[in-house]
């Protein structure tokens, strides 16, 4: 108590502690707050000591969880006090009570600045600490230069400089521009020579933040980081104070390795070798010891080293060492190490080639799923989810299902979703998939989102073989004593559609089916009642010959719900009632649902979205996204026959578009003309499949537009006009050779458009047809690129004789990893492709891909989006830099000028956007003439290294189809190629993606009738 030095404060704290209950405490606190408030009001009488005391009391009360809504001003005003004791209290209490957005902070910016630039070292420290802890944007703007000065000043002592480094880090986080000043990267490099390890630790934190957003500027820091790491790892010249349980500053080691993870590669062989030596030493030399702190510290370093090894994609030998270590960790008793072992193994999955070794630990990982610690269970679940593939899906999903019954509520939803996704992605056969989902609903109905059961309905609808099986299963589940409502929904839906397939089995007569479903009606919500009504109508329709007793029963129900308060139910009841009196016509109206168009699973999409939301800007996370993206390639597949056309029998099951429209016309009493055939030209693949499409399909009438499954086959039968439409839409540039057109397999979507889209983004679909989808994901770093091709077999039988050949242009060095000859059913293989850009060129690489499906040989030649702009990186230059460069690059061949005519007219902002999308940084206002546009970018290739390119466009506002363009760079070839590249851009702008086939005008009158079609497709038809 003596230490506190403030009697009043100690007494108050004791009083609060002595309170018997919360109520007493509140009274005591309220009394004190009242006291402080009065004292503050008569401020004149307050001595500095008293002021300090009250401010501390306020902080204490605040900490206890009470609102303190006054007195902030008094705390802040202490900052301006002339003496150290008051100032200190002012700074500390302010930084505890207020956050960066508080208005009062603005009032003291000047005082704070004076303290920072003043000569009093202790004041400097106080000010830097507060700004470092709660400084906001305004502080960043007004204080950054002063803080920088302190950091690099040779006259400042380490205690000030280390605070300045972290303060600057905070200001940089609030406004990154504050550090984007000339030569700062050189300063950083110099700062890494610092001898004082306290300063160096702070500087390293700053460096981590800087390189995480822009590593390019800090290449010179890389070898120095390696040297620091070497020095620490070998314990050379590390003062005793800075060793922690015998380990030379573990924190600095961790931070240094973290900084290194933001550099894409280490090119210098010597640096790389030294780094690997150090890493090897850490990996091999870390032993488990008794002392827990020493253990933690050494493993903190070890795990960071593992992350760095993974990032650098080290030699295979080192990788397998890492996996072996992790394998050891996930089996130890110590929970922290086990947790981290599981976590890092999940990260390891992103590295190719180690999955098989990880799979060996499956049993061990499953044990962790049953660990008493939820943190560990979560990690185990994540890892199992990540490592699941076709070979182990059955085991893993069954484990997850088993675990579901005992899992804590906090995890069930995630667990259910993950099990559903895995079951869908890797189902060895579809009946297993149906089993899994039904079990899932049975065990954890509350945690199964609608998406999951929609999905199972889609599968069942699209796969005839599955329908009797699913119906029988659904029937079985309804016998259980307590049935979850979601189970009622899915069972009712499936039985409505397919129970007639079971009619001969015992207990499956229409009457029995009806009564077992109807039993559930009193307990379900309105949305389910609506589904049940549809089911009844369907059962009625399927009952042949009609059963008058059942009919009366069902009509009575419809009658009852005709006056239901819920409009949806009321409408269904009325409509079904009158429809079911139409007799035979009912057969057509309530016919089986058509197949669903192929679409990406909304579940997978959901999983991706959440991953992306939480993704952080770090090397590891970026890789994780890449992994996630891979699942894009999976879509629902119809089980189409091998030769790509539908047999007549199947067509008859699926209603023809014209038929359904005619029925609709009858019902609605409108005389719509027969539009047979025209609909099939309309966008065969709805452009934007919406997740809730199924909701529409559950609507009262089963009248549907053309299921897309029909469209491709019809297209083949179509007269010339249809095909013309398709080929017209293909860009003339598309490298779609004649043989591809003669392939019996039609690509889905426009190849040229997909290529153009991929020129602007780094991931997406390159090619798709009914059998395969080729996705691409690329990462570009300077003149290196790493593409991953995702070859996804969409079918339930394997694709064989797969072959991929890269035809690289002379300026690209490309290396494709081995492509397996067979792609297993519904599986996806990843083929990494390394690209090195040797010199500037606009030539394009081509992927020659072929495969065999059944007897069909398919060969496509696809342009790869390794185009010039991928090797550009936008860079902003100041006016001074720009003009001095511009002047020094005088005339051809380094600076080329051309008047371009026939340009597609664009307003300047549009052009600026176009440039931006191609990585050209537009510098507004740099050119005094408002009709001109100036841009800069950095080009990377092996021959030119990083080279600055400058572009100037002079437009003529009276004639936007012509302009004058000047391009300059330090390399004549680059200047020429870039100029031509931009010219191509401006003359022919890749169109935004439109529906591949133009919609003929006849479609329009049909659209309203096809109202339940995908809204996106409808819109495309209207446009």
């Amino acid at each position: 108590m003596a230490l506190s030095g403030m009697r009043g404060l100690s007494v108050f704290i004791s009083d609060v502690r002595n309170c018997q209950n919360k109520e007493q405490e509140r009274l005591r606190v309220d009394k004190e707050l009242g006291n402080i408030r009065t004292r503050f009001k008569n401020e004149k009488g307050l001595s500095p000591y008293e002021k300090k005391k009250y401010v501390w009391k306020m902080l204490y009360i605040y900490m206890l969880g009470y609102d303190v809504d006054f007195g902030h001003m008094e705390a802040v005003s202490l900052i301006s006090a002339p003496k150290y004791p008051e100032k200190q209290v002012g700074y500390i209490v302010t930084s505890c009570l207020l956050n960066e957005n508080h208005d009062f902070l603005r009032l003291v910016i000047n005082t704070v600045r004076n303290d920072i630039i003043g000569r009093n070292e202790t004041f400097q420290c106080l000010a830097l600490t507060m700004v470092g802890n709660i400084g906001g944007r305004e502080f960043a703007e007004s204080l950054a230069p002063d803080v920088q000065k302190l950091l690099i000043s040779s006259s400042c002592r380490p205690l000030v400089r280390k605070k300045a480094a972290l303060c600057l880090l905070r200001l940089y986080r609030k406004n990154p521009d504050v550090v984007n000043v000339d030569g700062w990267s050189d300063r950083m490099s110099q700062l890494l020579d610092e001898r004082d390890l306290g300063v160096l630790t702070s500087v390293m934190s700053l460096l981590v933040a800087l390189v995480s957003t822009n590593h390019d500027a800090y290449w010179s820091c890389l070898p120095k980081c390696v040297r620091i790491l070497e020095r620490l790892a070998r314990n050379q010249d590390v003062p005793q104070d800075y060793t922690y349980y015998g380990i030379p500053s573990p924190w600095l080691q961790v931070k240094t390795m973290r900084a290194l993870q933001y550099f894409p590669t280490i090119e210098d062989p010597n640096t790389r070798r030294s780094l690997f030596e150090v890493l090897q030493r850490i990996l091999m030399g870390t032993d488990v010891v008794k002392n827990v702190n020493k253990n933690n510290a050494s493993h903190a370093v070890l795990f960071e080293a593992l992350a760095l090894v993974m990032h650098l994609d080290a030699e295979k030998e080192m990788m397998s060492q890492c996996v072996a270590l992790l394998g050891k960790f996930i089996a130890v008793r110590e929970p922290n190490i086990r947790y981290l072992g599981l976590e890092n193994m999940t990260r390891m999955l992103m590295v190719t080639d180690v999955q098989d070794i990880i799979k060996r630990h499956q049993a061990q990982i499953i044990t962790s799923l049953k660990d008493p610690d939820i943190s560990i269970r979560r990690r185990a679940l994540d890892l199992l989810y990540g490592m699941c593939d076709v070979t182990n899906a059955k085991d893993i999903v069954e484990e997850l299902l088993q675990y579901l019954s005992t899992a804590d509520f906090a995890m069930r939803e995630e667990l259910a979703l993950k099990a559903a996704i895995l079951a869908e992605k890797f189902a060895p056969d579809l009946s297993w998939y149906v089993d899994v989902i039904l079990q899932l609903i049975d065990k954890a109905g509350d945690f199964v989102s609608d998406d999951i059961w929609y999905r199972v309905v889609q599968f069942v609808t699209n796969n005839e073989d599955l329908q009797p099986y699913a119906a029988a299963k659904a029937r079985d589940y309804l016998d259980k004593p307590a049935v979850h409502e979601t189970m009622v929904k899915v069972s009712a839906y499936i039985l409505g559609e397919y129970s007639h397939l079971l009619a001969r089995r015992p207990g499956c007569s229409p009457k029995e089916i009806f009564s077992i479903i109807h039993e559930k009606l009193p307990t379900v919500s309105t949305s389910t009642v609506a589904i049940l009504l549809s089911t009844y109508a369907k059962i009625l329709m399927h009952t042949q010959p009609p059963d008058p007793e059942l009919q009366d029963q069902i009509w009575a129900i419809f009658n009852k719900y005709e006056s239901c308060i819920d409009a949806e139910i009321q409408q269904r009841a009325v409509e079904y009632f009158s429809l079911s009196r139409k007799g035979a016509a009912l057969m057509d109206i309530l016919a089986e649902m058509p197949k669903f168009p192929e679409r990406q699973s909304s579940l997978l999409k959901k999983a991706e979205d959440t991953e992306l939301d939480t993704a952080e800007q770090s090397a590891i996370k970026l890789r994780a996204q890449q992994q996630q993206q891979a699942s894009n390639a999976l879509v629902v597949t119809d089980q189409r026959p091998a030769n790509g056309s539908l047999p007549v029998g199947q067509l008859s099951l699926v209603k023809m578009p014209s038929m359904s429209i005619n029925v609709d016309a009858d019902v609605a009493g409108q005389g719509l003309t027969n539009t047979n055939g025209t609909l099939s030209i309309a966008d065969p693949q709805p452009a934007t499949p919406s997740a809730d499409l199924l909701g529409d399909l559950l609507g009262p009438l089963a009248i549907e537009g053309p299921p897309s499954a029909v469209a491709p086959s019809e297209q083949n039968l179509m007269s010339g006009s249809g095909l013309e439409g398709v080929s017209n839409a293909m860009d003339a540039l598309a490298l779609a050779p004649v043989e591809e057109q003669s392939n019996s397999v039609q690509p889905i979507g426009n190849i040229a458009e997909r290529f153009h889209a991929l020129c602007l983004k780094d991931s997406g679909v390159l090619y798709e047809d009914p059998y395969i989808q080729i996705g691409i994901k690329a990462e570009w770093r300077a003149h290196h690129g790493r593409l991953v091709l995702f070859l996804g077999n969409k079918n339930t039988s394997p694709l064989v004789s797969a072959q991929a050949l890269i035809l690289p242009p002379s300026h690209l060095k490309m290396e494709l990893s081995l492509v397996p000859e067979t792609i297993p059913p519904r599986a996806q293989v990843q083929c990494p492709l390394e690209v090195v850009n040797l010199r500037p060129s606009r030539d394009v690489a081509v992927l020659d891909f072929s495969y065999k499906f059944g007897t069909t040989m398919v060969n496509v030649k696809l342009r790869l989006p390794a185009v010039l702009n991928k090797f550009l990186q936008p860079i902003s230059v100041t006016a001074e830099e720009f003009f001095s460069q511009w002047r020094s690059l005088s005339g051809p061949p380094l600076k080329l000028q051309e008047v371009v005519r026939g340009v597609r007219p664009l307003f300047l902002p549009e052009m600026a956007n176009l440039f931006k999308s191609f990585q050209l940084m537009v510098a507004p206002g740099l050119d005094p003439n408002p009709n001109n546009l100036v841009a800069s970018t950095m080009f990377y290739s092996e021959s030119t290294r990083a080279m600055l390119c400058l572009i100037r466009i002079e437009t003529d506002p009276s004639d936007r189809t012509q302009l004058r363009m000047t391009v300059a760079s330090g390399d004549p070839v680059l200047t020429f190629e870039l100029k031509e590249f931009i010219k191509e851009l401006l003359v022919s702008i890749p169109k935004p993606s439109i529906a591949p086939a133009p919609a003929p005008p006849q479609v329009q009158p049909v659209s309203p009738a096809a109202g339940s079609l995908d809204p996106g497709a409808m819109l495309a038809g209207l446009l």
Binding site: Y84, I92, P372
Partner: protein, 161 residues
């Protein structure tokens, strides 16, 4: 980075809070309530990490006090765990075998010490000796000022003002 530091007693009383990311008053209260619920109920032999709202909380119990630090998903957990221990060792050295009472009655000292260890949610100083020296220097500055204030001449000046 460390988003915040929390010291909570086993009974759920807050002994110190420090926020390096901007949280409003409401959010702060909510965070404390939620985390006390999660952490205080965890058994003794579990790991020191809790996943919470897309972040991780690294915590360690020393006698009746839980020291918690909230970090990003991909930060190094063990490194943070040892920052906690580093902080505890410095408190221990300063108070001489620190106990919860020391931190209750001298909570402001704990804040001073924390400010010498962390800034902007990053580790500032990893030498215990250096931190101890700086804190001692601060204390003596305060002492000197106090002596000056209570010196006779000062009192006279004050009285005749």
């Amino acid at each position: 980075m460390i988003h915040f530091v929390l010291l909570i007693s086993r009974q759920g009383k807050v002994r110190l809070t420090k926020w390096y990311s901007p949280y409003s008053q409401k959010e702060r209260t909510k965070v404390i309530r939620e985390l006390s619920g999660v952490i205080l109920t965890r058994g003794p032999k579990l790991c020191n990490f809790v996943e919470w709202r897309g972040h991780k909380v690294v915590y360690k119990r020393y006698a009746s006090l839980y020291f918690c630090m909230c970090i990003d998903q991909d930060d190094n957990e063990l490194e943070i765990l040892e920052i906690i221990h580093h902080f505890v060792e410095i408190l221990d050295r300063y108070f001489g075998s620190v106990c919860e009472l020391d931190l209750i009655f001298n909570f402001h000292k704990a804040y001073y010490i924390l400010d010498e260890i962390l800034i902007a949610g990053e580790l500032q100083e990893s030498s215990k000796k250096t931190v101890a020296r700086l804190i001692a220097a601060q204390d003596s500055l305060v002492e000197t000022a106090k002596e000056q204030a209570s010196s006779l001449s000062n009192m006279i000046a004050h009285a005749t003002k």
